[in-house]
Amino acid sequence: MAENTFERVKKIIVEHLDVDPAEVTLEASVKDDLGADSLDVVDLIMQFEDEFGLEISDEEAEKISTVGDIVSYIEQKQQ
């Protein structure tokens, strides 16, 4: 399950930010390491919402920094 969520998140990030899959680790910062600007983050959040069928509020979105944050947030919401 954990890997599954990570793989799905990774796929979206790789496609959207056009980065090397190897760079998308749980520790990677979406902005600093993967080069997303603030609009990219909004865009990614929308795609995660669609992919996982959930809603991520603006306050929650602001707390997200690393890929791991996204994965644990999504898993927590899905329980």
């Binding site: 609009l39 909004v42 865009d43 929308m46």
Partner: protein, 247 residues
């Protein structure tokens, strides 16, 4: 020209907004209109959109109320599935000299004419970003550029709309969304019908083309900005004013 597109026109029940809604429909778009309270007028606009062979939806929405705005855009998306064009046209006047202007006149005009544009724009950015394409057209006014005694609240709001247009254009450009403003001059509608005759004559003297504008003059400019032909124009304010203000 706009076949298969979906447009939302705020303040589409009367005046300039109605002409915009009907013109976009004649160009092939399905159109949802927002109106403040004039249901009969809204239904007339709906009839004209349908007469053009397009789908229509009229929603009573106060554009200055975020909950109503969000709910309305959800309804439009549920009905039409997408939003390609947003025309922020809803507007009111509460004219008075600054010295006599009441705080509530200031607030009402700023809330409807400026905050309303912000709220509606915010509501469409999500669907437009997903589509990687969109057109936002804000109806400002030449007085927002030139100033006008007796309209401090209205002028501040309309100048604000121009600044908002420039900023939104820069924020959304990378997602294929263009944002432009139109600054109409003196257009013959209910809003201007109430002005005294001598003032109208005085205004006419200041219009090089020698006539007041029609609602169609504005609607044609909106149609162009909404089309693919205007794809390289963003952050601009186009005057439709008979040459009144040239700055």
């Amino acid at each position: 020209m706009l076949a298969g597109k979906v447009a939302v026109v705020t303040g589409g029940s009367r005046g300039i907004g109605r002409a915009i809604a009907v013109t976009l429909a004649q160009a092939g778009a399905d159109v949802a209109i927002f109106y403040a309270g004039n249901r009969q007028a809204a239904e007339e606009t709906v009839g004209q959109i349908q007469a053009a062979g397009r789908k229509a939806l009229a929603l009573q929405v106060d554009v200055s109320n975020s909950e109503q705005v969000d709910a309305a855009f959800k309804e439009v998306l549920a009905a039409f599935d997408r939003i390609d064009i947003l025309v922020n046209n809803a507007g009111i006047t509460r004219d008075n000299l600054l010295m006599r202007m009441k705080e509530e006149d200031w607030d009402q005009v700023i809330n409807t004419n400026l905050k309303g544009v912000f709220l509606c724009t915010k509501a469409v950015t999500r669907p437009m970003m997903k589509q990687r394409k969109g057109r936002i057209i804000n109806i400002s006014s030449v007085v927002g550029v030139a100033g006008n005694p007796g309209q401090a609240n209205y002028v501040a709001a309309k100048a604000g709309v121009i600044g908002l247009t420039k900023t939104t254009a820069k924020e959304l450009a990378s997602r294929g969304i263009t944002v432009n403003a139109i600054a109409p001059g003196f257009i013959e509608t209910d809003m201007t019908a109430v002005l005294p005759e001598d003032l109208k004559r005085q205004m006419l003297d200041q219009i090089p083309l020698g006539r007041f504008g029609s609602v169609e003059d504005v609607a044609e400019a909106v149609k162009f900005l909404a089309s693919d032909a205007a794809g390289y124009i963003t952050g601009q304010t186009i005057h439709v004013d008979g040459g009144m203000v040239t700055a």
